[in-house]
């Protein structure tokens, strides 16, 4: 029933942009929460969204950005299904990892149907990042070192065992013939924390993503991207990063960059956000901002997004079972 209604709103939004403009924005200043430490993929999502929204000038005040670390989204999810479930101007960044954690039960007694998935704003791909002074020039070199002394090379990533980054590391290891149970995996609150640990020498590699890694390098962080988990090299200036496939690891890892809203957000507020985001994602500014953050365009909203999330949930369950994670 809601889907039908949403579909109607989407239709209206597409056909009658003027009507959308006439609707009123939700009360108070809007906030985008990155449920992690700064400088990760969630942060990137909020920063990008802020630029898009502020550039369009549709909010009475600039978009606020906040951080709510804790279980890479678990604490935020609990807040958005609890105390803050009805905030009509609070958006929370999510990724495919959020879906993985939900599928695994890491967020507590919750499931994906409890919040309102607003939009996928962009597409990113997983990447393996090391320090630029690291001894490993490419993925095979790193894998060879891991094969030799698995416990000497700490792999960092967002989320715990069973989370998306761990899973990417574990699957890479398995594909390279390394027992993933021998790996040392260090969990962080997002890619930003992992990068910090990497630069401090506490971990040797991070299962980060292309967008936040490249953005970090733009900001002067001394990193080296060994591989991107994409079916083929990414376009533009990202084409210098070889894929994992090229280096003998046939694994793709598309990363969702999206935002969701609280479980009890009013249909009206949800519709307002959905209509505006759908319109903005079609703009030239949007494409330019995506490029700045080294992200790929993939605007998805509405039923398409719900379907995508359902598929992801199934994939996550299958992969967890395959890796023997309860």
């Amino acid at each position: 029933m809601r889907n039908l209604w949403l579909g109607l709103v989407l239709l209206l939004a597409a056909v009658l942009p003027g009507m959308v403009h006439a609707q009123t924005a939700p009360d108070g200043s809007a906030t985008c929460i990155a449920p992690a430490q700064p400088d990760g993929g969630f942060d990137l999502t909020c920063r990008m969204l802020a630029q898009v929204l502020d550039g369009a000038g549709i909010l009475p005040q600039p978009l606020q950005r906040g951080y709510m670390p804790g279980g890479v989204g678990a604490v935020a999810f609990n807040a958005m299904t609890g105390t803050r479930a009805a905030e009509g101007n609070t958006l929370v960044a999510f990724s495919e990892g959020t879906i993985y954690n939900l599928a695994k039960g890491s967020f507590g007694d919750h499931h994906a149907g409890e919040v309102r998935w607003l939009a996928q704003l962009a597409q990113d791909y997983g990447a393996i990042v090391v320090r630029d002074d690291a001894a490993w020039a490419d993925l095979p070199a790193l894998l060879a070192a891991m094969r030799k002394e698995p416990q000497r090379i700490a792999i960092g990533g967002g989320g715990t065992i069973g989370g998306q980054d761990w899973m990417r590391g574990a699957m890479t290891a398995e594909l390279a013939g390394i027992d993933h149970r021998k790996l040392r995996f260090v969990a962080f609150e997002g890619a930003g924390s992992c990068t910090q640990a990497l630069l401090e020498g506490f971990v040797q590699a991070c299962m980060n993503d292309m967008g936040d890694a490249r953005t970090g390098m733009d900001a002067g962080k001394p990193l080296r991207i060994l591989a991107v988990f994409a079916p083929r090299r990414l376009p533009g200036d990202l084409s210098d990063v070889p894929t994992a496939r090229e280096q003998g690891v046939p694994l793709d890892w598309p990363v969702m960059r999206g935002v969701y809203m609280g479980a009890h957000v009013s249909d009206q507020d949800f519709a307002w956000w959905q209509a505006h985001l759908a319109r903005l994602m079609a703009s030239a500014d949007y494409a330019r901002i995506l490029e700045r953050y080294h992200l790929q365009a993939k605007p998805v909203t509405g039923p398409a997004l719900e379907a995508e999330i359902a598929t992801l949930t199934q994939t996550a369950r299958a992969r967890l079972a395959q890796l023997g994670v309860p």
Binding site: A74, A76, G108
Partner: protein
Amino acid sequence: MTRARLSLRATVALWMVPTILFSFGSSWWLTQVNVRELANSAYDRTLDGALRAIEDNISTKSGGLGVELPYALFASLQATSAGTVYFRVSSQDGLVQIGDVALPPAPKLATGVPLFYNAEYLDQNVRIGALRTTLAAPLYGAAQAQDVVIEVAETAASRQAFLDRIGDAAFWRDVVTTFLGLALMMLGIGFALRPLERLRQRFDSRGAEDLSPLDESQLPAEVRPLVQSFNALLLRHAALAGAQRRFLDDASHQLRTPISVLRMQLDYALQTDDPTERRATLEAMRPVIERSTRTTSQMLALARADATTTGQGDPVDPARILSEVARLHLQSARRKGLLMDLDLPELSPTLIGHETLIYEALSNLLDNAIRHSPKGGTIRLALSLDPDGLAIDISDDGPGMSREGLARLGERFRTEGGNGLGLALVQSVAKAHGGRLSARNRDDGGLQVTLKLPQAN
């Protein structure tokens, strides 16, 4: 007795082996235990520091659980421990798990009290410090603030290496001090035993005739009694040697005198032409020869008695011997008109000894009594039994003995009208049989000599 053949040095060394092993082992073990405790408490303090640093860096301001990790501290920890540092921060509700999520599960913890324990992680021994702390504010609107467990672990290799190093150092220290102590002790024993060696040299350098006592004043207290006993033995030997020398002197004198008298008499008898004179001279020679014969036989008996050991011999019937001796001297007693009174018990006792010696002793006593008795006197011979053994009393009506004579009874060649061998012989026989010779002047005049001998069991 193999022990007796071991030298003092070896005996002391043998006793020192378990002592040294014990002190060595206990010292090393105590060092290990103490150092392990000290090292653990020192190393645990740094872990505790890291725990507190993380605790201080936990923030709930954002509404989430933010943790700033103290990487500088981790780096210095890793540098000092030359190992790897691990950490984990996990919330009680299981939502948050960051760091080394595969660390072994923490034991039950009391809030605010750090716990340190050994565990295994990634096939290595690790020391883990764990701290449970309550967040400043509840997350996602929960009823109360959640608890968070912080764990910091480090590989125990450097700690073990440190302990091994200390253990090795303690081991070699103990080995060196033990051997030094042993060497010093052997040296000390050598010094302690040096007086004994000097004592031996003093004995070795002594002349064969030197029986003078040894000066023991410079000797160690332990050796002094030994040397004192030895000196006493030397004194006894010196006294015996003196007595034997005197005996030899006296004996040669005793024999030389009658022999020279006899030679003079023989010369006179050969020179004289008067047969009557010659016969008289030869007659005069007879008592001299008889006395010499008696002296010689007494000396031989004495020598035999001296050579006899107490407690040996055959069963002897003293009553029979006394009777025989009385019968033998009956003739000479009659010549002096003496009355002889023999008093024997009804049941004759038995003693273990040498019949000839006892016979000789009793014969001498009776001979003395006869010689010293006035004409017409009485001699009493009595054999009686008392609890100590048997007593043979011989009393006469003679003049008795002087006080000095009684005091020096039985001394050789000390004579009150005789050759001085008779009583000496009796004395010697008495000693040879474990008995005793005594004499007293009777109150009613005359001498009573008593020979006490132990009875056979």
